[in-house]
Symmetry: C2
Subunit: 345 residues, 2 copies
Amino acid sequence: MISSPYLLYLGAATDPLAVKTARGVAEWRPQLCVGQRRLPGCEVTLGLEDLTVAEAAARGAKTMIIGEANAGGVLSAAAIPEIVAALEAGLDVASGLHQRLGEIPAIREAAERLGRRLFDVRQPPADLGVGKGVPRAGLRLLTVGTDCSMGKMYTSLALEREMRARGLKADFRATGQTGILIAGEGVAVDAVVADFISGGAERVSPARHDGGWDIIEGQGSLFHPSYAGVSLGLLHGSQPDALVLCHEPGRPHMRGVPGHPVPGLRVTLERNLEAARLTNAAVIPVGVAFNTSAFSDEEAARLCAEAAAELNLPCQDPVRMGVDQIVDNLLSCFEASSSHAAAGR
Amino acid sequence: MISSPYLLYLGAATDPLAVKTARGVAEWRPQLCVGQRRLPGCEVTLGLEDLTVAEAAARGAKTMIIGEANAGGVLSAAAIPEIVAALEAGLDVASGLHQRLGEIPAIREAAERLGRRLFDVRQPPADLGVGKGVPRAGLRLLTVGTDCSMGKMYTSLALEREMRARGLKADFRATGQTGILIAGEGVAVDAVVADFISGGAERVSPARHDGGWDIIEGQGSLFHPSYAGVSLGLLHGSQPDALVLCHEPGRPHMRGVPGHPVPGLRVTLERNLEAARLTNAAVIPVGVAFNTSAFSDEEAARLCAEAAAELNLPCQDPVRMGVDQIVDNLLSCFEASSSHAAAGR
C-alpha cells in the first residue's frame, strides 16, 4: 500500500474546496503528515509546516500526495515539475485525480528511471461488474447531501470515530479519492465505468455478519446536474439501512453550476429515501449533519434546531458539535428493532 | 468510419434480448447487412441468410459486427476464434461490448498481422468532461423507460423516421452501442467514466440553431438497481424539452434482477419529469410507446388506450402502430408554443 508519512501538495490553490483531498488526510491522519508543499499564489493552508520536497524527504516523508483537485480531475501544468522533483528526492507520489500520473510522460519516465511508485487511487478494480441489487447481510449507513462538498466524508469519519469510541464495530467505507487515501482501500465510484456505479458500491460494502456497521461515504447529490448519476448508483448499490443528510446552510447555488439553487432538506431526504427503497425497503433517516462554518455558535445552534424540528431528526455540525445525538438516534432506532434489521432480510 | 456492408455475428445466443445490437442494425440499416453468423446452439434469428465468415467475405462484407451482448459486456470465449477467422477472411470487426477487442491478444495479433481494423464503439471520447447544466439552444426529445430493453432506441429511430417523412429536421442521437453502429456516431454513455455521464449526454446533443429536433436515445431506467445512475445522468445532460415514455406491458420483473417489480407508468413519468426539470424547467411529456409484442392486436389496442387515458397522452406501439399520434402531439405542443421553445432559452 501507500507508504507514510506524507507530504501534502497544495499547488497554487486559491479555493479551500479545491484542497479537500489534502485537508481530509491532514485532519484524519495527522500523525502521518510531515508538512505541506505550496506554490506561489497559493491562498490556502492546512496549518502544516511549509516544506520543499527535499526538506520533506529529509524529514522522512515517503509519499507526496497530490492534494489539489479541480472539477475535471486533470493535473495542473505547474504540478508536473513538482512531482518529478518529489520523485527525484526519493518520494513516491499518490493521486486521486481522474488523469493518471503515468499518463504524463515526464512523470512516468522519472518514476521508471528512479524506481519510484505512482499510486492512482481513482483507478477502479479491473474486475468490477454491474450491481445486482440482491439483498445482503449487514448494517449500512450512507451519507447523502443536498450538494457536493457538503461534508459527507467528514461526517462519515466522525460517525465511525464516535461509534468506535462507544465500543461499537463501525468501519468507514471510502468511495472517493480522499477517503481511499485515509482508509487505505475503497472504490472511487465517480471513476468507474458508468454501468458499474452500483456494482462499485456493492464492492465497497460487502455482506458482513459481525453485527457491525459499514459507514459509507456518500458522493455528490441527486440534485447536481453534473454528478447525480453517481449519487443515484451509489445509493442503490449501498442498500443503506440508515441515511444521514448532509447540508451547508447558506450556499448560494450548487457547486460549480451557478443558477442551480440548492434543494431543500425535506425534498432531498424524501427523494433519497424513495430511491433507496428500491434496494432496501426498510431504509430510514437517522440524522442531519450541517456544515455551519460560516456562522456563529448561536446561529449554528439555531440553524440545527430549526432543521431538527422540521425533519424530526437530530441535527449537528460534526466539526463544532460532534455527532453524538445522531449516533444516539441511530442506536435507538436499530436497538428498538434489532428485529427490523434481521427480519428485513 | 466503419465500412459496410456487414456480417452480423449472433454467436450461440439463446435470448432474443441478447442480440438486440444485431437486431437494431438489421432493422434500421437492412441494405447494409449481407447475412448473419450463428454458432451451434443459437436459438435466435434476424431472418438474414446464415453465412460463414468466408461466405460473407465472398459476398462483399467489409465488417463483422459483434451482435451479441451480455450483462457484463464481456466477449464469450466462443467468439474469439470466429473473430480471428473474420479478420483472416478480410473483414474488419466492430463491437459494442465493454471489453475492448484489442484487449484480447489473439484478436489484437491477428488484426495487426493482417492490417485489419478493430472498432470498439463503446470507447468514449478521450476529451469528455463533466456536464455543466448550462441551457443550450435547440429542441430535444429523450426516450425514457420503466426498465431496460423496453424499445427506447427503436422508438427514437421510429420518431426520427416519422418526423423526416413529414419534412421535419430530426436527427437520432445515439447513446448506446447499437445506436452508434446505426447512426455512425454518438457516445455510449454507459461506458464513460461515471463523473462524465451528463457530460457525455451534452456532447451527444450539442446546441443547434436550425429549428430541428434531436431525438436522443434513452438508456436504462431510474428504477433499475444496476443502471439508474446512467439514466439519471443522461436525463440531466440531455436537457430534454419533450419526453416519450417507453414500456413493455406484462414484464414480470426488472431485466436481470428478479424480485424487483417494474414500476408504474405514472410514477415513472413523474420521477423522470421531476429530475429533468433540474436542467430544463419547461420539459413536458408528449407520448407513450409500448412494446406489445406479447399481445394480440385487440389486447395491444386496449392496453394502449388504457395508458393513453391514464396519462392523457397518445400511446402507440411503434412496431405495429407507428408513432404518428405521438409526433402529432409533439408538434401540437411545440407549435402551440413556438414562443415556449424560443422564450425558454
